[in-house]
């Protein structure tokens, strides 16, 4: 298996900037923040205005009626009305069948159906699609992505991610990390979560990209990046998008392009082991498609795109097959529509 053509092209035509070497320990101490370090919102707004930047916040959503209203109210009231840190707050919806769109509209977010944005690039559904399309739809120089299923959302989820980008020009991409209590029927417990991180992604990074293990929660769904960096990234349409971002930015710019912020606690829905299996499968496809793994993987048999899991029926076990191909959308800067809309060239 070889790297996709667009990736090889991108790497060839847009050579990586000289990589600033940063030891992991140095990076951890200089690029790991706590959201409270950016709580002076007035100062953040001044910094944003001084740099003449626009900031957009995207909530990718699919059937999140239960939590999206709260996210919009808290983020909009604090970061748009009280302090004009965000210039736009938009929901990119994958076709919710619950009241997600109605609730989002009731609280004043801009709402877009992913299927209406760049429909010529296919009608695939997935979080990665929404994130990619947000780059076309939103106007910010900095884009913040926050999952729409967070029940304990706070404004610091957004300003904690944007803070390092405003303070440190060399930072291109900021990841969130947090304590992740899982909601169970008996209420919240204090820690846990991140099973795919700990038993898949961290071991893979430890084997092949040890520097990236400094990122405490590589799969966290909350991150912010500069448009200039995001527009050059391919976006896997599903589970692999977070992993792809890390690997591709790391490949181009090294660890110095990253920062991470402690957001304290994120309460989210727990996922079944089977669902995590699918996530892991998508991440593995993304991983094996990337340099330098892809070149090394040429010697391996072709990757299958079917995940097989078991379920127990009355007197036997049944194997269920889930076709799961982690397709990727090209870097948006390579699309003529984007080049026209943003006057950019690859």
């Amino acid at each position: 298996m070889s790297s996709p053509r667009w990736l090889r092209q991108l790497l060839r035509h847009a050579p990586a900037k000289p990589r600033r070497q940063l030891a992991v320990a140095d990076w951890l101490s200089s690029r790991t923040f706590h959201h409270s370090q950016f709580a002076d919102l007035k100062a953040l707004v001044q910094e944003k205005e001084r740099q003449n930047l626009r900031i957009s916040l995207c909530l990718p959503a699919l059937n999140e009626a239960k939590t999206i209203g709260k996210e919009i109210i808290l983020l909009k009231a604090e970061l748009m009305t009280r302090y004009p840190l965000l210039d736009e707050l938009a929901v990119i919806d994958s076709g919710s069948t619950d009241q997600t769109m109605e609730v989002a509209a009731a609280y004043g977010a801009s709402i877009y159906a992913a299927s209406d944005i760049l429909p010529q690039y296919g009608d695939k559904q997935g979080k990665g699609v929404n994130l990619w399309k947000a780059l076309y739809q939103l106007r910010g120089d900095i884009i913040i992505y926050i999952d729409a299923d967070i029940s304990n959302i706070r404004p610091h989820f957004a300003y904690g991610l944007v803070g390092p980008l405003l303070r440190l020009p060399e930072v291109q991409y900021v990841k969130a990390f947090y304590d992740r209590p899982l909601i169970s029927a008996k209420g919240a417990r204090l820690s846990g979560g991140g099973r795919v991180t700990e038993i898949l992604v961290r071991p893979l990074f430890s084997l092949f990209f040890p520097e990236l293990t400094a990122i405490i929660q590589p799969l966290s769904g909350e991150y912010a990046g500069r448009r200039a960096a995001l527009e050059r990234l391919p976006f896997p349409i599903g589970y692999g998008v977070e992993t792809a971002h890390l690997l591709d930015i790391y490949q181009r710019c090294g660890l110095a392009a990253f920062a991470q912020t402690d957001l304290d606690q994120r309460i989210h829905r727990n996922q079944s082991t089977h669902a995590l299996g699918k996530m892991a499968f998508g991440i593995l496809q993304t991983f094996f498609r990337r340099w330098p793994i892809a070149d090394a993987a040429k010697a391996l048999p072709a990757m299958a795109a079917v995940l097989r899991q078991f379920q127990h029926c009355e007197d036997h076990y049944e194997q269920i097959e889930f076709p799961l191909r982690e397709e990727e959308l090209p870097p948006i800067i390579t699309t003529p529509e984007y080049q026209r809309a943003f006057k950019r060239c690859p």
Binding site: I73, V103, A188
Partner: protein, 397 residues
């Protein structure tokens, strides 16, 4: 907003127009109110543990730029919107503590038209109104002659017995021309009078020398059931309005163990102090008699006692507030309450209580879930502004 005896209908239509203007402006601060409401509601604040919630309130007051922001020794949070003249002070207040024990999950669920969650009504909306009111007045470009003092009081509920508010009123060093107590629900209520109250626990405990081996030993539950049966036979008049609520009972550890201790929590309310005294006497008699007969120790622990009192229904403040509610299309529900009014009454401050929106409370065993509707909030906020304006103008009250 002045009433015109010569042309009452003109005055009424003027008030209606004014209220509609307030309501429209309230629409512009609704999002800020909802955001603060969620923040406040998700900060735990059991009676005596309100500090984090009060700190949030004080930070908000500081962000808005209010004057005299303070947290006093009882933990009350307060701030002032300075008046044009500042000779008089008007108090807008609500309690910061929440009822009963803390829920496991206190996240607020935001739907298209309502908020759902533990204590989302009681009393988070009222607290969020305190942080939003200054912004609403700013949007309206409205100033008052009097200083408006905002107060989030601590230790109000249960054993707290309005301790925070009483402390504030005796130590603040200001006099108040009038007070407006805010309750999250129900919009349309207009409480001008407070009922007398007797809040307490009846404790039934086995004595040290209890004969555990005696077959048929009944422990503390049977005597308590006797007490409950006797309390239910206390005859109460319909006028003056009087009630006894037996709200909570707890005792024992398992089905097959004799309960050593049983506690009954009750609240007696009456518009008449004499009736309250009689209820207390009857309770004491019942306890003495059942205790003597059963051989267990039974005691009455009085947590709070408040005398009835307040404004007359014909008081100008009540009339003006009624007009405001009517101008906003509400049917004023005039009745007595047991809220913070009694502390105002004790301090000789004319006071009213109003509600801010509509909502309901659902119990499931010991879990409480509340639901409040969002749309009426603008009416609730407009009502607060208009009543404060009436209080501000009514120097002769």
């Amino acid at each position: 907003m002045t009433t015109s005896p010569e042309n009452p209908s003109a005055a009424t239509s003027g008030l209606t127009a004014q209220c509609q203007q307030y309501k429209a402006a309230a629409e512009n601060v609704r999002e800020l109110l909802l955001a603060d409401l969620i923040h406040i509601c998700e900060i735990p604040a059991p009676t005596g543990g309100e500090e984090p919630r009060i700190r949030f309130m004080a930070n908000r007051f500081a962000e808005i730029g209010l004057a005299d922001i303070a947290i006093d020794t009882e933990g009350n949070g307060t701030a002032t919107i300075p008046g044009r003249e500042g000779r008089r002070n008007l108090l807008v207040l609500t309690n910061a503590d929440t009822l009963v024990k803390e829920p496991k999950d206190r996240t607020v669920d935001v739907r298209a038209d309502r908020l759902v969650g533990p204590f989302v009504g009681d009393n988070s909306i009222a607290l969020a109104t305190l942080t939003t009111l200054p912004l609403l007045l700013e949007k309206l470009n409205l100033t008052f002659k009097a200083n408006i003092v905002l107060l989030a009081s601590t230790r109000s509920l249960g054993r707290g017995n309005l301790q925070g508010l009483k402390h504030f009123l005796t130590t603040v060093g200001r006099s108040f021309a009038a007070g407006l107590c805010l309750e999250s629900v129900q919009l349309g209520r207009l409480n001008y009078h407070c009922m007398g109250l007797l809040l307490g626990d009846v404790w039934c405990r086995l004595p040290e020398n209890y004969n555990w081996s005696q077959y048929g030993a009944t422990g503390s539950i049977i005597p308590m059931s006797d007490i409950i049966s006797r309390i239910s036979q206390i005859s109460l008049p319909r006028r003056p309005l009087s009630t006894i609520v037996l709200g909570m009972i707890r005792g024992g550890i398992t089905a097959n163990n004799i309960a050593r201790e049983t506690v009954l929590s009750f609240e007696a309310r009456s518009e008449s102090q004499e009736i309250l005294k009689a209820i207390k006497q009857q309770l004491s008699d019942i306890i003495a008699e059942v205790g003597a007969r059963s051989g267990v120790n039974i005691t009455l622990d009085v947590i709070a006692q408040r005398e009835p009192g307040g404004l007359d229904i014909g008081h100008p403040l009540v009339r003006r507030a009624s007009e405001v509610l009517t101008a906003l299309g509400l049917q004023p529900m005039l009745y007595s309450t047991t809220s913070q009014l009694s502390a105002l009454r004790d301090a000789k401050i004319p006071g009213l209580t109003v509600g801010l929106t509509l909502g309901e409370r659902r119990y499931e065993l010991d879990e409480i879930d509340e639901s409040v509707t969002i749309n009426p909030l603008t009416t609730g906020l407009a009502q607060v502004v208009a009543i404060l304006q009436a209080m501000d103008e009514d120097e002769a009250q």
